[in-house]
Symmetry: C2
């Protein structure tokens, strides 16, 4: 192991718990550098700088109703008829009330004319001569329907913290503050290699002993739901030479490498050996979980390498449980809050392992998230994943999980 120490990695850990494996992976993965990106293309990316208010929010005293703007004292003195000096629209500089007993017509969003300090909505008045007359029963308050300059935020106030993924809300704030080129996480180049001689592509006709390759497209689709695009998916047969060649090439072209298959204990499980030969330092192998026991993780010069078990359920579960959080960390994203749900029915699980149980989620009327288990025969039963929303994480060393038992849940897409 001397060479691995020299690379700065502790010796490989094996048969870790889920919590240990998660911590070790998240600790090991580096945070990648950010870059500046023009605003439209920054949608969906992780913000890497804090954003402060460019100016006061709102930037001017802003009408929040359509109606008239007047001087409240003038109404208070008993006046109900107000001649109109003009119309104040949004996008115009604030006018000035020349006659303190007059008013301006005003539209929602327009600046309050200088001298006015209340807005009376259009519903409470009628036209009268060259102005309007306010309903006798209506009692405006001073300052009403005025969104005061700076009342939401002062110029310089913190609006967005680094680490948020840019969705609609964040984009609104970036645009409104003129942040044309925010600093964001770079989109990683991700290579996927699915291994296995038994795999046939979409075009081919599988023999009875063959199965169609599905991990490449499935993992690509899941990654894209989490904001990761630009993925190169390759296939490699169970041949150490070809495998080494593909992996070596993928490592030279990528920021992350994800393999599926070849990490178990079979004679043709060449992946860990080939990775070691290529200088990928092993960090962990095997996690006390089902599915996904053979999970492998290592690093080469800042490039995280994940070896996921090849069956489709294991690879999707491990991708969602470990790889996506690791990518999010590498992008500098803040961690999502953990979700929990209660089981809609009792389940049993004998092995002394953490169990990732596919579930369908629904909310009841009291705000509780309910997880409906989809029991599967084996970890290879991926047809049963259809119409599941994610999986529950049921803890190790416990075989009975009663109805109503709370567990962490992971959504496939959330």
């Amino acid at each position: 192991m001397t060479s691995l120490y020299r690379l700065g990695y502790a010796p490989m850990q094996t048969e870790l718990t889920v919590a240990q494996a998660e911590r070790l992976i998240l600790k090991t993965v580096p945070v990648w550098a950010g870059e500046r990106a023009p605003l439209p293309s920054a949608a969906g990316r992780v913000l890497r700088e804090s954003i402060r208010a460019e100016r006061d929010l709102p930037p001017y005293n802003r009408a929040t109703m359509d109606g008239i703007a007047l001087r409240w004292k003038s109404w208070q003195s008993g006046r109900r008829a107000f001649p109109l000096e003009g119309t104040q629209s949004a996008g115009q500089a604030a006018a000035t009330l020349m006659d303190p007993h007059a008013a301006w017509r005003i539209a929602t969003g327009a600046p309050i004319p200088n001298g006015a300090d209340a807005v009376v909505p259009v519903e409470y008045m009628r036209d009268a001569g060259k102005g309007v007359e306010i309903d006798s029963g209506y009692r405006p308050k001073r300052g009403q329907f005025i969104h005061k300059r700076g009342s939401d935020r002062r110029a310089g106030a913190l609006l967005l913290k680094a680490g948020q993924r840019i969705g609609g809300v964040e984009m609104a704030l970036l645009s409104a503050n003129g942040v044309a080129n925010p600093r964001v996480a770079r989109a990683p180049r991700i290579a996927l290699i699915s291994t296995g001689n038994e795999l046939v592509g979409l075009g081919g006709r599988p023999q009875p002993w063959q199965i169609r390759s599905s991990n490449g497209p499935a993992m690509t689709a899941l990654l894209s739901r989490h904001g990761y695009a630009g993925i190169r998916a390759l296939h490699a047969p169970d041949d150490p030479g070809v495998l080494a060649d593909r992996i070596d090439y993928a490592l030279s072209q990528s920021d992350v490498l994800i393999l599926s298959g070849g990490v178990s204990k079979g004679a043709k499980d060449y992946v860990p050996g080939v990775l070691a030969e290529l200088g990928v330092a092993p960090v962990l192998h095997r996690v006390r979980q089902r599915p996904g026991f053979p999970l492998w993780f290592g690093m080469r010069g800042g490039i995280p390498v994940f070896g996921l078990p090849g069956n489709p359920v294991s690879s999707l579960v491990c991708l969602r449980r470990y790889v996506i959080p690791a990518l999010d960390k590498a992008q500098g994203a803040r961690r999502a809050y953990p979700e929990t749900a209660v089981l809609a029915e009792a389940v049993m699980f004998k092995p002394r392992l953490t169990w990732f149980l596919p579930v369908r989620l629904a909310a009841n009327k009291t705000g509780r998230l309910i997880a409906h288990p989809r029991q599967t025969n084996t970890s290879g039963d991926f047809a049963s994943l259809a119409r599941t929303d994610g999986f529950a994480q049921l803890r190790a060393n416990r075989s009975r999980f009663p109805i109503g038992c709370a567990a962490r849940v992971f959504r496939w897409n959330g």
Copy 2:
């Protein structure tokens, strides 16, 4: 209103409740035709056909452990040493056990050799001569570690129903069943027009009475989080002629038109009038909600047209609450389950309207979703949306919402 009747629409409804508005919009929006798309590009789109198993799942008796495959009766008869006839790998046709008291080495995923009916994992044996010797204390069961052909699903069984959005799980099933060109919803062409003279673009320097345009980028980003890309965002000033021209062009190029601004009661709120002139039949105007009271919705020849209020909070809330569910329905997507959460603190709201209250969500350890309110000054306070996950829908005609009160919640991104 005669012409609208002729178009097949009832007269315009006004001041509806939220539930009435939602129902009316979802009822009015058509379901668009689907199309076939090659599998990789189908990721993220709504499946428009049901998918059945191409063949038995699994397609062969499949080993679920690395070890040896043997005839169980041979072990039961007392034999512990088994000569090996060869290695059965994944991707090879099933071999045949020639000697009933011999065994084959086998890898996870490989077909069980004919004649064998149990797998003994590699952990429970040691090499002995030309074969292996099973540990004396180990007791295999007949059929163990064999994932039987057809035990998950029989050929022809329903795997996926139409209406699911294609994520990782769905992609795994489509690929594994050789569905190279699934029928999916067509990606709609969406036009966004933000209106208002007060708006300045990203490049410009706003005057004190101007604000930067943010609704176009914000709505585009929110739509893209829900799987809607290919959006054209335009701006129009508060000028009926220019507005009519932009809207007319957008209608000719789009499947959906979304406007923000210009639907309130101000003198410059030209949108409803211009839409009527262009033959867009009004379906509803104004909903008993805050924010978003002035919401407008109409149809022209199968094209839904949404007029959202212009302030950033209102437009994002209305987009998430009405437009995205309408787009999902038009794509033939199954409806998402309603989410509920409980309030983390008491809130008060006097107006007799439904209140959409921005919240930050967190789950407690008993599976309850907790909504932490972010109170805002007015519906224009969009800085307070930062770090919210969505909004709670608090019902009308009630002013006190105590701590622990359950409410529906809508996630910005979910």
